[in-house]
């Protein structure tokens, strides 16, 4: 049992060993495809990290599930498939959720996939229907993630000018691509990578960016106010953008954005539109993910026996919420948008999904 932090007791607690092995032992009906099993374990171990990588891996696994799908005897047409396949996917999705809560982008992709399954043309044969879904899913990844990132990096690089000092936090694929692109285009600028415990994801970004020859400074989030004076732009990644313009991102992002706001430095968020959500959140308490509390224990093991100390709890939050007021601009594959335009994009682009 995990020691619960009262304010966050409503969230699924981080109990990796218990939940996963127990779940697997209980399942005798063999209803989870090995690809999904493998993916779930990787997700739980944080071997696949980042919204884009997780969504892509999930769609790939589901694509295998669909290709290997064999309907029961009396369900052999495409029309039956659209009804039956959905029930097949359900336990796999809940297994993935048990491994690690899904991010908004994954949720959106699942909803989209369910819509595609429900609206399969009834005239298709089983094989054609499988092929059709497979192509659709590949298309989703290329269009919404791969191409989207390419366009975002182009737009973002266009906002990096000579002599800029760019501040980035943790690791975002889109931000990394933008920095590399701007550097390749010959813009001379400096990057300050801000990082934080316990994940230290900024190091990976630092590795990639400095290897390309970009001048970098690496600091911890506690020295943020010290460097903010010289920063000209802040680039952030996002796990999701909500309908009220708020951003869900790696914990610490909100502090960075608010500090930038304080110093009147423009804050730019790079986010693919498939991560846009019609949900509204006002704080990062109602909905969040709890990470492994033991990650917080210092490497010199100062806190190693924290479980034995009465009333001592450790809280390792994964995400936080950045209010729309501290953002200047959202860069999407559709171009530059103010954060207030998230609902417009959802309204104009997801008409077919909400039907």
């Amino acid at each position: 049992m995990q020691k619960k932090v009262p304010w966050f007791s409503h969230l699924p607690q981080y109990e990796r060993e218990a939940s996963l092995s127990a779940q697997l032992a209980e399942r005798t009906d063999n209803d989870i495809h090995p690809e999904v099993l493998k993916l779930g374990l990787k997700l739980a171990d944080w071997l696949i990290v980042g919204g884009n990588a997780r969504t892509e891996a999930m769609l790939k696994a589901f694509s295998k599930v669909i290709m290997d799908y064999n309907p029961p005897k009396d369900h052999e047409t495409g029309a039956d498939m659209s009804r039956h396949l959905d029930t097949r996917l359900k336990p796999m999705i809940s297994y993935l959720v048990a491994c690690r809560p899904l991010c908004i982008g994954m949720g959106n992709a699942i909803r989209w996939l369910k819509g595609k399954i429900a609206h399969l043309p009834p005239t298709l044969s089983l094989d054609d229907a499988k092929q059709h879904l497979h192509e659709q899913m590949e298309g989703y990844v290329t269009e919404k993630i791969v191409f989207a990132d390419r366009i975002i990096s182009k737009h973002a690089a266009a906002k990096i000018n000579n002599n800029d000092v760019i501040l980035v936090y943790a690791r975002s694929m889109a931000v990394e691509a933008a920095i590399l692109r701007a550097h390749k285009e010959g813009t001379t600028f400096r990057v300050i990578v801000v990082d934080s415990r316990p994940k230290m994801e900024g190091k990976q970004l630092l590795d990639r960016v400095s290897a390309a020859g970009v001048a970098c400074t690496y600091i911890m989030i506690n020295s943020l106010s010290f460097v903010m004076k010289e920063v000209t732009k802040v680039f952030l990644g996002a796990s999701a953008m909500l309908a009220n313009g708020n951003v869900i991102s790696r914990v610490g992002t909100a502090s960075v954005a608010m500090m930038a706001r304080q110093y009147k430095v423009p804050v730019l968020v790079c986010c693919e539109t498939y991560k846009f959500s019609e949900k509204v959140m006002l704080d990062s308490i109602c909905n969040n993910e709890l990470g492994d509390p033991d990650e917080l224990v210092a490497s010199n093991n100062t806190l190693a026996d924290w479980r034995d100390v009465k009333d001592m709890k450790l809280l390792n939050l994964v995400y936080d919420l950045t209010p729309a007021e501290s953002l200047t601009l959202v860069i999407t594959e559709l171009g530059y948008l103010p954060p207030s335009s998230v609902p417009v994009v959802i309204r104009e682009y997801r008409k077919e999904v909400t039907l």
Binding site: P266, G335, Y336, L337, P338, S340, S341, V344, V345, E348
Partner: protein
């Protein structure tokens, strides 16, 4: 080459004929005429021609005037978008071309109508006894004020000089002819008079995606003072001036709007930026022909238009 140059000639002819005409109308007129006279037989050809024409128009120099690139680009992009849309709706090229020419010709009328619509939309915001501060010269702003005066509202206008071109004098005389009492102040006196002002009204060279505006130099200063004094800052603008730009700071402008190289007089370096960017946080409302909008609604309209 002849055809490309023709675009510019048509544009200039139209501007000469219509003294109060808008840049966008002239541009659309020139582009429509180009389509009419072109021998293009596919949409692709047409799009290539349009692109070349756009570049030609953007390179145009306006002597003694501020650059018109933002308005020109907005108009050209709007037209190009319209061509793509029409081409998708109508498969047949000739029918499509015909429709484009028809719509292009009607654009001038619509532009006139849109000024009247803006004036009507702005009417309720101008009330008896108000003092309105105007910066720069704008046909739309003058139209709004004239319309309000004509419908019997009694108000006074404070006009800034509008250095360095001193366009304030043009605004002042236009308004005075319409029987509106006008005071002229120095550009530097805005802070002095702001307490007696009830509303600030300006035009815009371009309305950006964020809802901020690019306008005559000094607009940002006026907006900052108005915000400090908690006075509403309204912008009157046609919706065809909405453009797909997203400046991050007052200096983050398209190249053509950027500061020219400083001239040196008596050993003193003189900088004269022609335009500045006023961020959306300083703008209360935009009075447009598609309604009275908050700054964030501009992006909504652009998204609807361009996707």
């Amino acid at each position: 080459m002849a055809e490309e140059a023709e675009v510019v000639r048509n544009f200039k002819e139209w501007m000469e004929k219509n003294e109060k005409g808008a840049i966008a109308v002239a541009a659309i007129h020139a582009l429509t005429t180009m389509i009419k006279n072109s021998g293009a037989s596919t949409i692709m050809e047409l799009e290539i021609l349009l692109k070349a024409a756009q570049e030609q128009l953007q390179e145009m120099k306006f002597e003694g005037q501020r650059s018109k690139v933002i308005q020109l680009t907005a108009a050209c992009e709007l037209f190009a978008r319209h061509v793509t849309r029409t081409a998708l709706d109508i498969g047949d090229f000739e029918a499509c071309k015909q429709r484009l020419i028809e719509r292009g010709m009607r654009f001038a009328e619509q532009a006139d109508v849109s000024r009247a619509v803006i004036a009507e939309n702005a009417r309720p915001f101008i009330r008896d006894g108000m003092a309105i501060l105007v910066h720069g010269y704008s046909n739309v702003v003058c139209g709004c004020l004239q319309h309000a005066a004509k419908s019997g509202v009694r108000f006074k206008v404070i006009v800034t000089q509008g250095q360095p071109e001193c366009v304030g004098f043009k605004t002042a005389s236009t308004l005075q002819e319409a029987g509106i009492p006008v005071d002229m102040i120095l550009d530097t006196a805005v802070g002095y008079v702001i307490q007696e002002v009830d509303m600030v009204l300006t035009g815009a060279a371009g309305v950006c995606e964020s809802g901020g505006i690019i306008n005559k130099i000094g607009t940002f200063q006026v907006a900052a003072i108005a915000k400090e004094a908690k006075k509403p800052f309204c912008v009157a603008s046609e919706s065809y001036k909405f453009c797909r730009l997203y400046p991050l700071s007052p200096t983050d402008l398209p190249d053509a709007e950027k500061e020219p190289t400083p001239r040196v007089e008596q050993g003193i370096k003189i900088r004269q930026p022609p335009s500045d960017f006023t961020p959306p946080s300083h703008i209360t409302l935009l009075l447009t022909d598609i309604g009275v909008l908050t700054p964030s609604a501009v992006s909504d309209e652009l998204i609807k238009l361009y996707y």
